[in-house]
Structure formats: C-alpha cells, structure tokens
Amino acid sequence: MLRSNSRPRLRLAAAGLALCAGLATAGPALAARSAPAGHLAPVTAAHGPTTFVVGNTDAVDTLNPFNGFTSQDFEVYGLIYDNLMDYGQLDYSGAPRLATSWSHSKDGLTWTYHIRKGVKWSDGVPLTAADVAYTFQRNIQPNSTEFADNEAYVGQITSAVATGPYTVVMKVRHYSPVMNRLIVPILPEHIWKNVSEKQLASFANNNPVGSGPFIVSSFSANQSITLKANPGYWGGKPGIKTLVFQRFDNPTAEKLALANGSIDFAEDLTPALWQSLKGTPGVKLINAPAGNFDELAFNNGAATVDNKPIGNGNPALTDINVRHAISYAINTSELVKKVLLGTGSPGTSVIPPIYAQFHYTPPASATYHYDPARASAILTADGWKLGPNGIRVKDGKQLTLRLFVRNQSPEQEQDAPYIVGWLKAVGIGVTTTSMSDSQLTADIGNGQYDMFMWGWGVEPNPDFQLSTFTCGQRSTGSAPNYTPGWSDSFYCDPAYDKLYSQQQGLDGAARAAVVKQMQQMLYLDDNYSLLYYWNDTQAYRSDLFTGFAPQPNQPNGLYLYQEVSWWSYRCIRPAGTSPSLTEHNIGCEHEIGAVTAATTSGVNGGLIGGIVAAVIVVALAGVLIARRRKTATADERE
C-alpha cells in the first residue's frame, strides 16, 4: 500500500494538529489563571481585576485633540487632559475643574478665572495660568483649526492673559453666559508652543503630556489604546490601575466579548444585541436616554453662503407640502418599536428631551404623527396625481427621490426599507444607495442628494447644534468641489440667525425661551424629519466593577460616554472593594454603591447564600439582643 509515502506525512499532519490542539487548550488554562476567584471564571478574562476594558465599535484615531473626530477620541481626550470646567453631574451647569472659581465684571466683558494650585503635568512640570492663557490664545486664532473646533465656547473671546501664576483674565466682545461653562481642554504650553499652525495637521501627539486622571501607556491608532492611572492626580487616585479602550469590527463580536468576560463595558451595541444580554449572569444593562437623535434630512435648496444654488437636488423637495407629506407618512413609533426595540422615543425637535430646559415640545395638533391618509391628501391637493405604476406625477415629472444611507450605521440601514415602504405607500418612489460617511459628506457639501439619514449627538450647550442651521454654515467655495460647512440642511432664515445671536447673550429661562422659539421655526419648516431620539444602550460586568457615577445622576443615567463629561472614570473600582477607595475623588460623592450580581433574573447562588446569611445574622442578632435584654433586666433587677 501507500504506507511509506503517507505515513511520514500523516505523522507530520497529526503532530501539527496535536500541537495546535495542545496549545489551544493551554491557552484558556493560561488565560483563566488570572480571573477573579470566587465566581465562574470567564474563559477569556485574561486581564486583572484592576484593569477595566471598554469595548466600542469606534476607536481613537489620533491623540491630537485638534484633529480628533470620533466619539472615542473625545472620550479619551477628557481623560488625559483636564478641561477648564466640567458639566455638572446633576444638572449640566458649569462645575469647577482646573478653574476653581470665576467671576466677571459688571459689564460682563471681563472674566477672571482662578486656577487650581498644585496641579502637575504628567512630565512633572507644574501647571500654571500661563498654560491656560496659552491654550485660549491659541484657540481664538482666526481661521485656525483650533478656532473651528472650539468656536462654540471661545467664539466671543478676544484675549486671554495670565495676570498671575494662578489667575487668568479673559475679555469678550459681549456678555456670553458660555463663559460659565468653558469645557475646553487645557494644553501644556511647553509642548505645544513647538507645534506651529502648519505642523498641526500632521502632529501626532503620540506621547501626550496632560494633567488628567489617566496617562497614555500604549496606543494603536484605530485599534486600541491603553491608559494607566495617574497616581498623583489632583482629583484623587482612580480606583482602577489600567484602562483599555478596545475597538471591535462589529457589535456582534463586542457582545460576545462582554458575555464571556473579555471586556468589562460594552458601548454602541445594537438594540437587539443589547437586549439579548438580558439574563446573562454578572451583566447589568443600562437603557440611558442621551442627547442623540437620528433624522431624515431633505435637500430643500442647497446653496452656498452667497446664496448661489448648487447640486442636483430634486426640486420637489423645495415644496414644503412634499416635506410635510413625507413627515406624515413615516411611522416613527414603529421605527422605535422595531428598530430600536423600544430603547428610544419618537423624534420631534432638534434639542433632545434629556435637556429638559431647552427641549421644545410641539403641540399635539402640530405634530407630524403617522397619518398616511393625510400625507396622500396633502400630495393630491398639491397637484401630485397617482400614476399608473403607483408613483405620483405632476407636470410630467415623477415624484422619485434618492435616499442615501450610511453603511456604517446598522440601525439606519435597518430603517431604510421601512422608509421606502411607507413612502411608496403614499405614492413617493425612493431609490436607496448606501455609502461611506465621507462620501456622503462630500455629496451633501455639493448639494448632490435628495434625502439622507444621519444623526447628531447634542451636547448640553445647544449653541453648536443651533448654529448648524444658520446661513453662514452652508457650503463655500466653487464648483466642482465645494467646501462643506456644518450645515447639512442648508437652512437659511435671517430671522433665525437673529435669534441665534440673541440667545448667545442670554442665560437661564430667557435663553431657553429663545432656544425653543428657534426649534419651533425649524420644526414648522420641516427641513429635518426627526425620526427618533435613541437611548445609549450600555452594558457592563456588575460582578466585576462598581462605583459608577451616572449623569444625570439617576439609575438610568449614562454610566460612561456621558455628555461631554467623564465622571465615572475617576470613581469606578473593582467589585468588592470599599467605597472609600474613590469616594473622596472629585465628583465621586454621587457614585452608585456596590451593585450585587443579583440584578439578573436567573437563580443566583450568591443571592440565595446572601439571603441565608442575612437570615442567620438577623436570627443571631435577635438571639443576642434577647440575651442582652435578659441580662440587662437581670442587671436592672440587681
């Protein structure tokens, strides 16, 4: 037979397989070695109890805060740099961080900030007012990337000067309440003065020097970043030693990783994946309303800042009746139910309800609820007659619109066929095209679209979001490639612009009134058909970590990825450690106490054991007390 030829080969193959198999089984053994004792050791938990791993589908792509863009970028910048102030954990008001207190002159044009003493940069150099002044001076340079990034906060500042080692005086053009909420990262002058404006775009900043609670220990762009705690942090030593942000290619892999313990916190899971984690032992789910909305945007007349029309948008969309019809034809509640699986609410105005003081709720009579009959009636009255193939026609033109869908959003991709179906049902034909974010942005900037779906994350200061609807944020430049501004609605109304300037000088209830008025204008003009406000569905291993400080401070507040805030990171600690580990850290007085593993619905041995123990303790205590009583009575009797 073939023995002499096949045997060596067979042996080799068998040896190879055996080696692989042996190593494969050795792997989990090696890995499980360091899992926390006393609970079912997840197979792949190869990181120690003081290492906190966060999973996301986004990643840090650059450590240069002026070039950052993704949500993950900003999450990390807030950990390695301190801002001048924070958004408060309870109500988003300005909270001290590097600025301990501040005041302004009577006319509101001069602001004085007192800088915290005793703060050191991660390279040992002391942090002084000079760094603050330098940072702001850099940020207010006209036509710079720095200005573009921070304009919402520094837009009115004309100068920033250090008048002492711990005092900074800034001057503004007119009274700006935002000076009470300067959430701007402070950079070390001794590093950044060597980076010129020209060099800014290519400066990688791979070994950032910051004053924040964490220091970068290793960084792999677009993959993962490892941070270590800053033991000398002025705000208190963090309760964890190592912090890792790991990017996953897709949410499915991320969910698997949380379920088997490779990561401790999962962000950006799809609603379906999040829900499937219910009942997983040791995993706690958070359904947190956040400042997010997704919209269906229209091209109702793309033009440059010089009012020159651009692009190839379907002129039918410039007709407000068509836009209203589309808004009435879409069943946003159904989208919340089917696509978000209930983790969200139907959308109305552009400042989400989580910001209760600013959110505008339209009256029921003016809300675009789901009413296909009404949508059809509007279109018919507008002159759009149903054609033979079910698509409406007017003046010989068919009502067929293009819908652009981002291929990077599973939820929006799932929305698309619904929208197509609902619009078809009222006689509007839709062709969908999926594309990348950058392609879509280019198309939007050039006005070459009809409709698209996208979303925004709105921060506690509504200024930026409102600014995207001003005339000045439309595209600039010339054909064939226009430079986009922040506007993706090409909305332009001088009255709106006036209100925008007005609210910049107001505060409190007066400002809220103007902001609501602006939202009403936008809602009636229907340039965005808001689909829904989606919640941030987070999940974490409550059996391994505790001490989160949610924002707003309530059980279903955001645990991480808070609105321009980083309260939890300073406070979280391994499960089972004492709260005293971090409760004196800045912002941790409101941390949530130890959460037992009994948050899941399954039978939990720990819970039963705990109850039994508690019963025994109570019984013992009762016996002891009874005994004591008797003794006391005896004593008293004595």
Partner: protein
C-alpha cells in the same frame, strides 16, 4: 503564463528561466500602471476624508493636497508614483496619515501567519486525502472523502467561519476567543504570548484549512487518477514489476508535481483570499486592512494592498512556473 502553452523556443534552461523572470517583471509593471489609473479614476478627496469634512481654510486644503501629491498634472503624478513605489514609499493613508507601507507591514505578518499555516496544513492533509482517495478509486474512503470535500468546496468560507465562531466562541462552549489576534489587554510575551496567538489562530486557521484542502485534494486525486492510466505503467506491468511498487515509486511522485505546482499557483491568491475570514474573525491582516480601507474610502492603502496582492500572485506564478520548468522534463521541451 502557462508554461505548456506559451512555451519558450529555446534549448537552454537558463534562457527559459530568464524569459520567465522578464515576463513576470513586465506583468508587474503593467499591474502598476493599471493600479495607478484605477485609483485615479475613482473619485477621491483625501481632504474630506482626513478632516472628516470639518470646515477647512484654503491654505489647509492646499497643504493636504500637497502632502498627497494631488493637484499636479497626471503624468507628473504617475512618475512620482513610480519612483516612490520603487523606493518602497506607498503614500500615506487618507484616514490617519500614517505611511501605507507601515500599515501594510504591520498587517503582513498576521496574514502570512494565518494563510501560511492554513496552506501548510491543507496541502499536507489535502494531498493525503487525494492520494488515498485516488489510489483506491471508488472505494469507501474515496466515496466519503469526495462527498465531504465537494460539500466543503461548495461552502462560502465566511459562512463556515461564522458557524464555527458561534459554535465554539459564542455558545456555552467558549473554547476559543471571539476574534482578534491577541488578547487585547496585551502584555503576554514569550511563550504565553505565542500560545495566545496560536489560540486566536485556531478558528480562522481551521476555516481556511478546510476551504483550501477541498480544492487541493480534488486536484491531487484527479492528477493521480490521470497518472495511473499512463502508458508507462502498462509497460512496467508488462515487464513484470510489482504494481504497487511501480505506482508508489513513479505514479505518485509524477502526479505530485503538477498538483504541487497548481497549489503553488493558487498560493498567490490566498493572501487576498483570506479577506472574508479575516473580517469575520477580526484578524488584523491584509484582507481586513483592505476591507476597512474600502469602506473609508482610503485609496492609498487600497492601492498598496492591491499592489501587494498582485505582486504575490505574480511571484507565486513565477515560482510555480520555474519549479515546473526545472523539475518536469516533459515541460521543458514544450
């Protein structure tokens, strides 16, 4: 570039080999040209990609265009492209401005590890299955293995990957990790590090091994069957030599050569063939790099990957051709 059909008309072996090498270089150059034009024709705007479309000043735009060498006339760009590629400079990524050569360099080893180990295993196992099956054509082993191999051949590789992923990493079994190449909290060096990588390699490696061995075993089997019908075997039998001795000493090695060469030819494609498997298992190799670059879109990286894929195929073809020329006298005369 099939030797049998193009055939050099020279007598010297050296001349034949030289012609083949020159031919490979010419094809490579042709690929360079086509790559360049393919990616210039596609709409690309690195400025928008890099800055994520935030408002740019004119001077910033100019600076970015200068970095990427755009805005120059096309022939000039082409010349720059040729010169730079020759020096190993493949440009900068649109997404993070890192040198493409560096990105590809980082992704090259994981792909080679994955694809290389799968190829070795699948070649060995596939050839063994093919020989055993072809040896006793129609026998029980042959029937079962051919059926099994045909089903494997019909399976989409990413589907097999997903099924294995769910079965072993997702369910209660949890025998293998759910993706990636390293445990990302990292820090495992030395033997523990090697074990960690091998453990992550197990599932994607298994998928590719199964997918490749299907084709290799089929090829080996049919080439052995062909060889077993050859005339010289008849002669040998007539001369009185023992059947199995003859088969073992002559038929199998003769059958092995064209199969190994065909496998060699396939090798060039395996680097790009791992795209879907790397995506399913988040394996940080070239396939995944090109898929991520495709979605960005990050054209310099894509272009670099293309070049590497094509070069791999050309190189593998060349080696396969040379092997065949040197070792198979029948072909040399062609």
């Amino acid at each position: 570039m099939s030797v049998i059909l193009d055939g050099a008309r020279s007598s010297g072996l050296a001349r034949t080999l030289a012609v083949k090498v020159v031919s490979a270089v010419v094809t490579l150059f042709f690929v360079l040209v086509c790559n360049f034009f393919l990616f210039r024709v596609l709409p690309a705007d690195p400025a928008k990609n890099l800055t994520h479309n935030s408002a740019l000043t004119a001077s910033q735009l100019a600076a970015i265009n200068r970095t990427f060498g755009l805005g120059l006339p096309l022939p000039r760009q082409f010349w720059n492209y040729l010169v730079q590629t020759f020096h190993g400079n493949l440009g900068r990524s649109f997404v993070n401005q890192l040198p493409v050569a560096q990105l590809i360099g980082q992704a090259l080893w994981p792909t080679i590890l994955l694809v290389g180990s799968a190829t070795v295993l699948s070649t060995v196992i596939g050839i063994w299955i093919g020989i055993r099956g072809g040896w006793n054509r129609g026998g029980r082993f042959d029937k079962t293995s051919t059926a099994f191999v045909n089903v494997l051949y019909a399976m989409p590789d990413f589907w097999l990957g997903m099924v294995l992923l769910i079965a072993f990493a997702g369910s209660a079994l949890r025998l293998f990790p759910d993706g990636g190449m390293h445990n990302f909290t990292g820090g495992s060096t030395g033997l523990a590090g090697v074990a960690d990588v091998l453990w992550h390699l197990a599932l994607p490696g298994l998928v590719l091994t199964l997918v490749y061995l299907a084709e290799y075993s089929l090829v080996m089997r049919s080439s052995l069957i062909d060889e077993l019908k050859a005339d010289y075997l008849l002669t040998a039998r007539a001369k009185g030599l023992r059947d199995d001795l003859v088969r073992r000493r002559h038929a199998v090695p003769n059958a092995l050569l064209p199969s190994v060469t065909l496998i060699m030819l396939n090798l060039g494609f395996v680097i790009s063939g791992a795209i879907t498997t790397e995506t399913v298992f988040s394996w940080p190799g070239l396939g995944r790099l090109s898929y991520v670059a495709l979605n960005a879109p990050d054209y310099p990286t894509l272009e670099g990957c293309f070049l590497l894929f094509s070069a791999a195929v050309i190189l593998a073809n060349l080696i396969g051709d040379l092997l065949l020329t040197v070792f198979d006298p029948r072909v040399r005369q062609a």
